[in-house]
Symmetry: C2
Subunit: 264 residues, 2 copies
């Protein structure tokens, strides 16, 4: 299907097609498509734009990544499909390791995603031959690398599930999540929950990283002052406000009535 | 994966697995999985239960179906995967025709879904060899049957897209939708929008049909008094209330704090 650029939801529809294509290539699993749909619903509620509280979280995430000794970016099928070059760009900027972690792990799929991330220009991509396990996670989902997520002090987990986020937080790591559902366990558990679309969030985080790399004082200030709870509360307030706007819309456009001329 | 019955989101997880299985069998398309995810997000917001306003809409839907001269139930891949026996039960109760309509139409998939609906016990299942076209819809999406949706006075369209819903409304039909997104064009355009999960909604509609088939006076009264706009407004109010409950929850459970003992 050809999507015209003028379509009001162009970006969202292109993302959907990208994901279906990645599923055909064996990168995304069906469960990943369903998860994407959940994100779409929340993004629709947010107006498909980065909100002010998300921007604050993205700046905080950048500060924690800049301060990190061993920053690691975690990648799964959906992330590789939607934002491989954004992840690779951020990894280069931070000299960060990328680790491929799959909820529905198969060696073939890990290999494919490692290749995608290398082709996108990520300097170090781990995932094959894991040599560590994250405590409190079942079997294959626990696989990790000592030089990767397992040994990281700050981990970025875009589109991550709640169990893994919780397990990483319990290891004492600073966990930065990117998840459009502000009510998900991931968003509730993460040290820095970014409630935004992954392809919008990552370049913004990278831009803030670039700014903060030259400003250690500002970086320290942001890390000290970031208020996780207050930020999530602002996200919730925004969502409630948007829901009010959206649900009042039909009454605000009375001409919609006239159009329904043939209705019973 | 084995899902324990005690899991608080058991029903939702089983539905997800059912859909992935149906996708493997070529009944559901990837776009259908994404659409299901969008529904999941709204169902989560609604608390995965039939709301009071949904119940009112389900009773109204039953009344319109009982009054109909030519009621038709429209079925697509997701509906066949999730609720074939519920649709078949309602079709038998109403002596209604079932018509298979696919957004991503292929003859193979139509044939598969026709077979599923017949196996589930639907008395008349149309879809193959269409002999009419719905005006204002592009090519394959317009295919219909004179004895089916095209000639119906009341059409039930579970999990339908906005364009088709709008086109059917413009033909002067009473269109009953089942869609978990109360803000979708389908819910906004339908004559009787049911905002509920399809597997919960259909048996409830059937139960009301059974009640109303013996009570023509009550049926007429419900059809006359049903207030589409007021009902949707009640759905929106409920959603706003639920969002408030969900977002205030973390503060209401202070013990969650103590658990995060290892957090920075």
């Amino acid at each position: 299907m050809r999507i015209p650029k003028s379509h009001p939801r162009y970006e969202s529809l292109v993302r959907r097609e990208t994901l279906v294509r990645a599923w055909k290539q064996g990168i995304v699993v069906p469960e990943g498509l369903i998860a994407h749909g959940r994100g779409e619903a929340f993004d629709y509620l947010f107006g498909e734009e980065t909100t002010a509280p998300a921007l604050v979280a993205e700046k905080a995430a950048a500060a924690f990544l800049v301060q990190a000794k061993r920053p690691v970016l975690s990648v799964n099928g959906n992330v590789a499909a939607l934002a491989s070059s954004e992840i690779a760009g951020l990894a280069r900027r931070l000299s960060a390791v990328v680790e491929v972690n799959l909820f529905h792990r198969s060696e073939t799929r890990v290999r494919r995603i490692v290749r995608i991330m290398r082709d996108a220009g990520a300097p170090t991509v781990l995932g094959l031959r894991p040599n560590a396990t994250i405590p409190h996670l079942e079997s294959k989902r626990a696989f990790s690398h000592r030089r990767g997520v397992y040994g990281a002090d700050v981990v970025l987990v875009p589109l991550e599930d709640g169990d893994r986020t919780e397990a990483l937080v319990h290891m004492g790591k600073t966990v930065i999540s990117i998840d459009l559902n502000p009510l998900s366990r991931t968003s509730r558990m993460a040290s820095v929950p970014i409630v935004d679309e992954v392809r919008r969030a990552l370049p913004t985080v990278e831009k803030f990283v670039q700014e903060l790399q030259g400003d250690p004082e500002e970086t320290t200030r942001i890390c000290a002052e970031y208020d996780r709870r207050g930020n999530l509360a602002a996200v919730y307030s925004f969502l409630e406000w948007r829901l009010g706007v959206l649900t009042r819309r039909p009454r605000a456009k009375p001409r919609a009535r006239g159009k329904r001329r043939t209705r019973r």
